[in-house]
């Protein structure tokens, strides 16, 4: 075995250790994100019911929902960064397995999160301007996309378990 081969194996071993550490952190952050996203969806649904679904309209859930979604967005970003920064020591052929399902679901969740940030920002700005036109429809879309994103996140987490 040549010096180059030994060096390559050593590098691959180092990269594997680094990958394992980053993906373990990714898993922990992912579980935290899932829990915060579940809470955001539940409180968000209560907020929607309160403001648009015949509730008191007092807005008691507005601030808790806002704090939860900021935390969820932060955790989601950190989770994604740890996954993207995990090195790949070996080339892996593309095939349909739980890893691919996890990635596809994570891409769906990322698209959902971006859509939620945009929709949430527009809905909040419109309401803060006192403009009630189309607000309920925007909130409905925001609500539906939120639960869909949570669905993708659940699939991504479940795929990792098996």
């Amino acid at each position: 075995m040549g010096a180059n081969s030994a060096e390559k194996i050593s590098n691959a071993s180092d990269l594997s250790k680094k990958r394992r550490h980053r993906l373990e952190t990714h898993q922990l952050l992912g579980l935290g994100t899932w829990a915060f996203m579940a809470a955001s969806c539940i409180i968000g649904q209560l907020n929607y019911n309160d403001l648009y679904g015949g509730g008191s309209g007092r807005g008691s859930y507005m601030m808790p929902h806002r704090l939860l979604v900021y935390s969820t967005a932060g955790l989601f970003t950190a989770t994604g960064i740890y996954a993207l920064l995990a090195p790949q020591p070996y080339k892996k052929p593309l095939k349909f397995d739980t890893g691919l399902l996890h990635r596809v679901a994570a891409i769906g969740a990322t698209a959902g999160m971006v859509a939620e940030v945009v929709l949430g920002f527009i809905t909040a700005r419109t309401a803060d301007s006192g403009n009630g036109s189309g607000l309920k429809q925007m909130a409905q879309i925001h609500d539906a996309v939120g639960w869909t994103t949570f669905g993708f996140m659940t699939i991504a987490g479940t795929a990792w378990l098996f």
């Binding site: 309209g57 007092r58 807005g59 945009v118 301007s129 006192g130 403009n131 009630g132």
Partner: protein, 127 residues
């Protein structure tokens, strides 16, 4: 250090452009077209309040707005202070850009709306 390749820079650029476009967009109701010289509450002020204030300061108050006054009526049938009693206070909040909350982002009452409220105040807040 994170090596930034071209696609990463492109995504970051798109994200920044999207964020800037979103903050530059207007989400409030447009300004009134002309400034009436002698506005009244029912004809001029109430529609302006409906566009910018009553989503929260209607009756009952919603979205965490105070319940101690109402702006949907000139004088209240109950004991609560209404638009007439609160006029100087809500006009000051609008003129200062404190209300509506999105005024800080440029989604407040427009210059014509503010001038109309000033005329209404000069005339003694007529019904």
């Amino acid at each position: 250090m994170l090596k930034r390749d071209k696609p990463t820079q492109r995504y970051a650029g798109c994200f920044v452009a999207m964020a800037l476009a979103m903050t530059a967009c207007s989400f409030g109701k447009p300004d009134i077209a002309t400034v009436p010289a002698h506005p009244t509450f029912e004809i001029d002020v109430k529609p302006l309040l409906a566009d910018h204030c009553l989503l929260c300061h209607g009756y009952p108050a919603t979205r965490g707005a105070p319940t101690s006054f109402r702006l949907d009526v000139y004088t209240s049938p109950d004991s609560l202070p209404a638009a007439y009693q609160e006029a100087s206070r809500f006009i000051r909040s609008i003129q200062n850009g404190k209300m509506p909350p999105s005024a800080a982002w440029g989604d407040g009452v427009g210059p014509n709306g503010k001038a109309m409220l000033q005329n209404w105040a000069s005339d003694g807040y007529p019904d």
